[in-house]
């Protein structure tokens, strides 16, 4: 097993070198294209066959996003009721086998049967970046945001750590760190509990025309990023070629993370370890669909009120005339 220090040093060096060397290369062209593709949401395609589980993406993510990680103040303020859970990952920053406030991407393992052979597949897991993200749309304070390029992120300066985003996320992606953020300046005893953290798809790199670190450092080119429609076309072409399966296109009404697998996702879902910080690969209905339908009813509601008022007037006039 390689030491983390050397690997980190390698990744940092790779990213720095890549930044200076790649001008004129495919990556630079892709980055330029991303800047110019602001009108259409971006999606990533993950070809599960290619992933070798080397975790370069995991460490690259940790390195480039280290400045965004929480530095909680201790001791934590007392919260009421006393049973409100404190969630502290600050002493477990090295954990990389699940999602935490300090680890926004991890590798899931699945032992499955492929062409009659027992095979171990590895799957990079992080936020799916839903097309209509419940974490963003249902955040009570607007602390979770969705950019025009489709990525969703949580503003650490605004988040109060209520964990609603995690509760409404079909994959329970965001993770909380207590003792950090705006709630400390408000009423830490009575409201709030820290800040929620998750993959922000390297929004600050995208703004500069760079691609997310996990994509850039992958030695196997597992991930491809581009306009969602093109990515979907690529995904279906690939799935057809390998007689494979697509995940993320329709889940929760559609996401900006599209997986292509050589084995059905229900098999993968059965094979992966699921639980806290380890999201499933199950089918997900559109969690925002009922709200969208009721929004339509809100448009009809004034007509119903109007009809009732005129109906009453009509009946009363009829009564008077008779």
């Amino acid at each position: 097993m390689r030491s983390q220090i050397s690997r980190r040093a390698f990744i940092k060096g790779s990213i720095a070198a890549a930044g200076t060397v790649v001008a004129g290369t495919g990556i630079a062209k892709a980055a330029d294209a991303l800047v110019n593709e602001k009108k259409e949401p971006l999606a990533t395609l993950l070809d599960i066959r290619k992933c070798i589980g080397c975790e370069e993406c995991v460490h690259a993510c940790r390195d480039v996003n280290a400045a965004k990680y929480p530095e909680p103040e201790k001791p934590f303020p007392k919260m009421y009721p006393k049973t409100v859970p404190v969630q502290d990952w600050s002493d477990k920053r090295e954990v990389i086998d699940r999602l935490t406030p300090y680890n926004w991407l991890f590798i899931q393992h699945a032992s499955v049967s492929l062409n009659g052979q027992e095979t171990e597949l590895t799957i990079p897991r992080r936020c799916m970046h839903c097309a209509n993200p419940p974490c963003v749309k249902l955040c009570p304070w607007g602390a979770a945001k969705q950019e025009k390029n489709g990525l969703s992120r949580i503003d650490a300066d605004l988040c109060l750590g209520g964990s609603k985003c995690k509760a409404v996320c079909p994959w329970s992606i965001p993770e909380r760190q207590t003792g950090v953020g705006l709630y400390l300046d408000l009423m830490p005893a009575l409201a709030g509990n820290g800040v929620m953290y998750k993959c922000d798809r390297c929004y600050n790199r995208l703004e500069k025309g760079e691609i997310p670190a996990c994509i850039q450092v992958c030695p196997e080119n597992v991930q491809t990023i581009g306009p969602r429609q093109k990515i979907l076309e690529q995904a279906h072409t690939l799935a057809k070629e390998i007689n494979g399966y697509v995940y993320g296109e329709h889940e929760n009404g559609g996401t900006h993370t599209i997986y292509v697998s050589p084995v059905p996702f229900d098999q993968l879902n059965a094979a992966i370890e699921k639980g806290k910080g380890k999201p499933h690969l199950d089918q997900v209905e559109n969690m925002m669909a009922d709200g969208t339908n009721l929004s339509r009813a809100m448009l009809i509601a004034p007509l119903a009120g109007l009809a009732a008022a005129f109906g009453k007037f009509y009946l009363r006039s009829k009564e008077k005339n008779s």
Binding site: P81, T83, V84, A131, N132, K137, L138, P140, W141, G142, K145, Q146, E147, K148, D155, L158, G162, S163, K164, A167, V168, A191, G253, M287, M288, D290, G291, T292, L294, S295, A297, M298, A301, P302, A304, G305, L306, A308, A309, F310, K312, F313
Partner: protein, 148 residues
């Protein structure tokens, strides 16, 4: 007539209760304070349930508001009969409906609004809600009516 007015008041009271309860349910407070742990109130801690109830109550509130408004206009009851607190509550409810309607639009797929605008909208809606609660409490205690 009076009984019909009473029914309308009860419907308004029921909608106001449900929309306020489900509105507060949009914030993660019922689980934190173990209100959702009280038998029968578990649904208060389920965000999608309170979200749907809030929207459904909003449909009822919008329909009722338009009905009352046009019923009043068609009857020719005269705006002079409306009390000061009645005007105040009308204004607040209009603000709630407009800001809430905009929030419903914001929640539709493919809608990307400026982040600051979303925060302002959230706080405006909450502000109107608190104002309506306070004014309603005031009119309830002092038995102030909508019309003279």
């Amino acid at each position: 007539m009076k009984s019909k007015g009473k029914i309308r008041s009860y419907i308004y009271g029921l909608i106001l209760f449900l929309i306020t309860l489900s509105g507060f349910g949009q914030m993660p407070i019922f689980s934190r304070y173990y209100i959702a742990s009280i038998p029968g109130l578990g649904w208060l801690g389920e965000f999608y349930t309170t979200h749907i109830l809030h929207y459904a109550s909003a449909v009822g509130l919008i329909a009722l508001a338009v009905y009352v408004l046009f019923d009043f206009v068609i009857q020719g009851a005269g705006v002079k009969r409306i009390t000061g607190s009645g005007y105040l509550k009308m204004g607040i409810i209009a603000g709630l409906i407009i800001s809430g309607g905009l929030m419903a639009v914001k929640n539709l797929p493919g809608i990307y609004w400026d982040h600051t605008a979303v925060i302002v909208l959230d706080l405006t809606h909450l502000g109107f809600c608190m104002a309506l609660l306070m004014v309603s409490l005031y009119t309830l205690i002092l038995k102030k009516t909508w019309v003279r």
